[in-house]
């Protein structure tokens, strides 16, 4: 017991216990790192497939197979984008976008057809909206509304408009007005950027 009053003992004890626990955690982290990365990659791949309206299987292996068959990742200005291919023909492009939601950032995928005249679909990667209200943006009925919407660069109206306004093409989520507005803003702004700037770079390649 006398030992405990010394200064050295607590310091040594703390160092030893810290080293032990840190090493254990480091090992666990090392072992699982690859798996965690795979999981997040798998999620992204399934979201890209969804945005392109390609049906995909439940299991990881099937998703990867579908993804490798139809999607090619390319880079422009350090930003990855996704090219949809069928038999060497390009049939669409998809981009990862992000913006501010009601509570936090929203990350989504926007998919277009080959000449950017249509929005093929959208899917949400990450968001932190209210569960049950704004959080419903990742429900299927909401995302399905964004299928095959024609985009006209020369029109002065926004690309996406809520019903029942004139030219409206999507429904809001009732009870989640702020999130709905935020989502539409993010989409409209990013579509504008993609159609006016990114499109040129991508089609040149």
């Amino acid at each position: 017991m006398a030992k405990k009053k010394k200064v050295l003992y607590p310091v040594v004890f703390m160092i030893i216990i810290t080293v032990v626990f840190t090493s254990v955690l480091a090992i666990i982290n090392e072992v699982s790192a690859e798996r965690i990365q795979q999981q997040s990659k798998l999620k992204e791949q399934s979201k890209v497939l969804y945005a392109f309206n390609i049906e995909y299987g439940e299991t990881g292996a099937e998703i990867i197979r579908q993804y490798n068959q139809f999607i090619e990742e390319r880079k422009a200005d350090n930003q990855t984008y996704y090219v949809r291919k069928s038999n060497d023909d390009i049939t669409g492009y998809a981009f990862k976008i992000e913006g501010a939601g009601l509570w936090g950032g929203i990350e989504a995928i926007l998919a277009f057809n080959q000449d950017f005249s249509n929005l093929t679909g959208v899917s949400f990667l990450n968001h932190s909206e209210t569960p049950g209200l704004g959080g419903r943006i990742d429900e299927e009925w909401f995302q399905e509304q964004f299928r095959d919407i024609s985009l006209d660069v020369n029109s002065t109206d926004p690309y996406l408009i809520f019903k029942p306004s004139t030219g409206g093409n999507v429904d809001t989520i009732s009870g989640a007005t702020s999130t709905s507005k935020a989502v539409l803003n993010i989409f409209n702004q990013n579509i504008e950027v993609i159609l006016t700037e990114t499109k040129g770079d991508v089609l040149d390649e």
């Binding site: 405990k4 626990f21 254990v24 699982s32 999981q39």
Partner: protein, 206 residues
């Protein structure tokens, strides 16, 4: 089952229940109880962390210098919490996302620190482990009760399976933060009434 084992279990789950008797761990109880599945995973995570933290603290209690014991406990607890976090990320990514920052915040859950300090510091490892399980279970049960009501009224479902049918109008309030406050208050109110009678019969009054 000897007397001490029995008393540890009843104390942890009922008489000294972390949430409605000690009012500990309230923050996460409010945050993750909108869905049954979230509450279940959170409860299991807490049982694991509390049990193993208490076990480790108890093993080291004779070698740990008294004045740095808090530091040691925090280190042990955070190590186990990180394990839970990594495990969820690797095997249940959807769950890890749903619980968000609350898994990491198990570290600050007062139940674990409280049990390590008040129980594991003075008892042998076997009992400490059991106490951790019991306290964690007490927490998990209360969470599941609250989540049961919130999910049933808020979504019309239990564990994501629709129970009340399509015609059910969801009580949006129940899945919003105020729903958690109302439910927790009701649980504590009921338990206060149950325990009031007992402590009046010659029990120690605060």
């Amino acid at each position: 089952m000897n007397k001490k084992t029995k008393s540890i279990i009843t104390m942890g789950i009922w008489q000294d229940n972390a949430i409605f008797r000690q009012i500990l761990g309230i923050c996460s109880a409010l945050a993750v109880t909108n869905l049954m599945i979230n509450s279940l995973v959170m409860g299991l995570g807490l049982i694991f962390v509390t049990a193993f933290s208490e076990l480790t603290v108890s093993f080291l209690r004779q070698y740990t210098p008294k004045h740095i014991r808090m530091m040691v406990q925090t280190l042990i607890i955070s190590a186990y919490v990180i394990m839970v976090d990594i495990f969820l990320k690797a095997f249940f990514p959807a769950m890890s996302e749903a619980l968000g920052p609350y898994v990491g915040l198990i570290i600050t859950n007062c139940i674990i620190m409280g049990r390590c300090e008040s129980f594991a510091q003075k008892n042998p490892p076997g009992y400490a482990f059991l106490d951790g399980m019991a306290s964690g279970a007490g927490y998990a049960i209360v969470l599941l009760i609250i989540a049961f009501v919130r999910e049933l009224l808020g979504f019309g479902s239990i564990f994501g399976i629709n129970i009340l049918g399509e015609s059910w109008v969801s009580w949006t309030l129940m899945i919003m933060p105020p729903g958690a406050f109302f439910m927790l208050a009701i649980v504590i109110w009921i338990s206060k009434n149950i325990f009031k009678e007992k402590s009046d019969n010659g029990g120690v009054k605060a």
